[in-house]
């Protein structure tokens, strides 16, 4: 049943990034996403937090969801092929009346012991193995010094359930879900993660079928049957493996129209033309606005003709993204700047860089 699971969502998204690296309590992001309560329906909420495990910065923090108990050993055998498990623990939760029936969440702090030169590919491989080979078990986050917390319920309830007010990170992204075609399930909630990527997504990817088959060419297999998953993998493929700088992800994921490309000057024209010819299968179609977190920053992107809402705001060194302005004003009533997204636009912020207010698209490496 779960294999045929696909959840196009309405949803709310929000994100906070302090570009100076100041820690922010989870309480803020919970308040922010909670203001958009109406955009979710209690069938899913989740969060991704960065640099929340300062004592394990060198280790991979795997958050693993056990929908059925008693699969630990099977999973740990797979883990130990590539890692030494430095620490394994159940993720502390606090039951509340909204959330009382829930699966087991464990987190493992892992030291990689495989081939260094292809470390990340091997980590990805482990994630793919567990997700595809072990029934009812899912790696929900697999990056260093970050973690994803998600489940069935309104995001604020999920947040408190995972006691996020007790965590501090310089970057948070959150998701409140409104699944339309099916009951939510814990694994299907957002964010989706791979390595340190985390993605929350409001929308429906009508190109899902081809994006998924396109990814097969590169060894990505989608088991969670959701469009958010393909977004995460596409970003990993383009940004990590093909070294595409964040600002230029749009050249593939939300590429300009041919007519706009024709109007460009060289060398842009041949760049965008070649990108579109080459990455046709990676083009994300249909309505979406997404927020992507990663080690070192955060960006938001909307589809080519902006069929879903998203705004970006700045206050001092803090960069905000949300489906609705209110979610930002809730935690930062005063803003230096607030801009709505244009179709196909990417707005990003990076740790250690001064805020760009979404203005220039000057190249810089991730």
């Amino acid at each position: 049943m779960r294999e045929d699971f696909y959840v196009p969502s309405g949803c709310a998204v929000a994100g906070i990034l302090n570009q100076d690296g100041q820690k922010i309590s989870g309480e803020n992001i919970i308040r922010s996403i909670a203001t958009m309560h109406e955009r979710s329906n209690g069938l899913g909420g989740g969060f991704a937090a960065y640099r929340i495990y300062p004592e394990f910065t060198e280790l991979y923090a795997f958050h693993i969801l056990y929908d059925k108990k008693g699969r630990e050993s099977e999973v740990e055998d797979i883990l130990e092929k590539k890692f030494s498990i430095e620490r394994a623990e159940t993720i502390p939760v606090r039951e509340n009346k909204a959330i009382n029936d829930y699966p087991l969440f464990k987190r493992y702090f892992l030291r990689f012991k495989g081939e260094k030169y292809q470390e990340e590919d091997e980590v990805v491989q482990v994630v793919m193995d567990i997700n595809s080979r072990v029934d009812d078990v899912y790696v929900i986050s697999s990056g260093k010094n970050m973690g994803i917390f998600k489940g069935i319920g309104y995001p604020e309830d999920i947040g408190h359930f995972f006691r996020l007010e007790e965590y501090e990170g310089y970057c948070w992204i959150a998701h409140g879900r409104f699944p339309t075609n099916s009951v939510g399930w814990w694994g299907g909630a957002h964010p989706f993660g791979l390595l340190s990527w985390s993605v929350v997504h409001n929308g429906e990817i009508s190109s899902y079928g081809i994006n998924r088959r396109y990814l097969q060419n590169f060894g990505y297999f989608c088991n969670l049957q959701t469009d958010t998953e393909v977004i995460a993998y596409l970003i990993d493929l383009l940004a990590r493996k093909h070294h595409l700088p964040i600002p230029y992800l749009k050249a593939a994921l939300a590429s300009p129209f041919w007519s706009d490309i024709e109007d460009m000057d060289e060398p842009e024209r041949s760049f965008y033309k070649a990108m579109r010819i080459t990455y046709g299968g990676a083009l994300l179609n249909g309505p979406f606005s997404i927020i992507v977190g990663f080690e070192g920053g955060m960006f938001g992107m909307v589809d080519r003709i902006k069929l879903r809402p998203m705004v970006a705001g700045w206050r001092g060194e803090t960069f905000y993204l949300a489906s609705e302005e209110c979610a930002i004003r809730e935690i930062s009533p005063e803003l230096d700047r607030l801009v709505p997204f244009q179709g196909g636009e990417i707005i990003w912020g990076k740790l250690g860089e001064k805020v760009n207010y979404g203005q220039e698209l000057a190249f810089s490496r991730v």
């Binding site: 009508s206 088959r213 590169f218 590429s255 060398p267 179609n285």
Partner: protein, 506 residues
Amino acid sequence: MAKSLLFPEFKVVRDENRCIACQVCVRQCANDVHVYDEEDDQVYSREENCVGCQRCVNLCPTNALEVTKKEVGMRPNANWSINHLRNLYKQAETGGVLLTGMGCSEDYPIYWDHLLLNASQVTNPSIDPLREPIEIKTFLGKKEEFLDIDWEENSPVLKTKLAPQLELNIPVLFSAMSYGSISYNAFRSLAEAAREIGTFCNSGEGGLHPDFYSLGGNIIVQVASGRFGVHPGYLRAAAAVEIKIGQGAKPGIGGHLPGEKVSLDVSRTRKIPVGSDAISPAPHHDIYSIEDLERLVFAIKEATNYEKPVSVKIAAVHNVAAIASGVVRAGADIVAIDGIRGGTGAAPQVIRDNVGIPIELALAQVDERLRREGIRQQASLVIAGGIRSSADVIKAIALGADAVYIGTAALVALGCHLCQKCYTGKCNWGIATQDPYLTKRLNPNIGKRRLVALLHAWSAEIKEMLGGMGVNALESLRGNREHLRAVGLSRDEREILGVKAAGEGW
């Protein structure tokens, strides 16, 4: 001489109250069906000659004519159909292989008609092509896995040299139809329409008439087993080169252009003597294996300085997926697959109607196989064989095709009435003939206009359907079988097509 047992296939009904004996029908029928009797000032019919091409019906100024199927008053027999009987009589008289034209007309399942498209509701807005751009531009050719880009500038600079691409404004090309099998005017109509629309036509194995070199930028030239009219200039004149291995209408069979169709011009174009039959061998006698194919592919790439995509056209046969994979690995930039309903100017009827598999199944299998092998990027997939409408086109794209070839559909736009007599060279519509009296009947200005109109209509419909699915770029539908659902198909067929049953959600 023994009386023939053949019965007329068609009935010519002439309304005497309307007939004015103007003899337009007499003058227009190349089969001498209509005869004018001066004495009675009346026109009579020889029905046995009628092929049902409807030319006379179309031109009769008083609508006095009707050509209908002639009922044969024999006891109905489920096993011994009229067609079987007719063929038996014919063969008992001629002792020969029965020839025919056009594509398979047997009643095999047409999977396009069992595939339904998706549309957006609520959760995902459909897009209005009148207000938002919907893009159907298509590039054919090998695609890179990733690009080498110089990021050091303040704007990225592309370093990878892309493999040669064909740029199409609509994912529809005109199938290989040689000058010889079709008339000069028919070919001109296709070539000029291709140029105006921004797509391509295909020379077939007939060489390229000097007049068409100027249109070479929109022509794919074929290298077939007969090698007719193949020379370096021919290859260089074209936008791409296609090696023809097989044809859906006659897999495993060579080509045969009857001498009657080899006029002076045709002979010049094909570089063969006037009036001599043009016979293409069944196989290329320099291709007995996949590695031989690779040789030819690269020989052509060398000859064209690696500036033109090389396509390889094969017929859809049982093992097509594996064969296609081999073709891709042999270096083809484009794989063209022609299904059992693919057309022809002349083929043995028994082959046309009994050999090969439907293109839908072949396409689904080839696309899936290439993806599983991770080589789908390395070649574009163009399919042919019985594409009848924009719906067929978009379904083919969703199944995984990059573009489709249309042959019969284009000829119908030019006036073809599917009489299946192409091989006689007596096409009353001036399409499949070289008889100067008949070829005049196709005015290429009209032909071009009609083809342009047809493809214009199709691209509008394709955009409507895409918009309905909430997709504003064709590449997002290509191979996206989530947008297809099957009705009335067995589980096996659905699995082969890789399409869920109608009613199943995501």
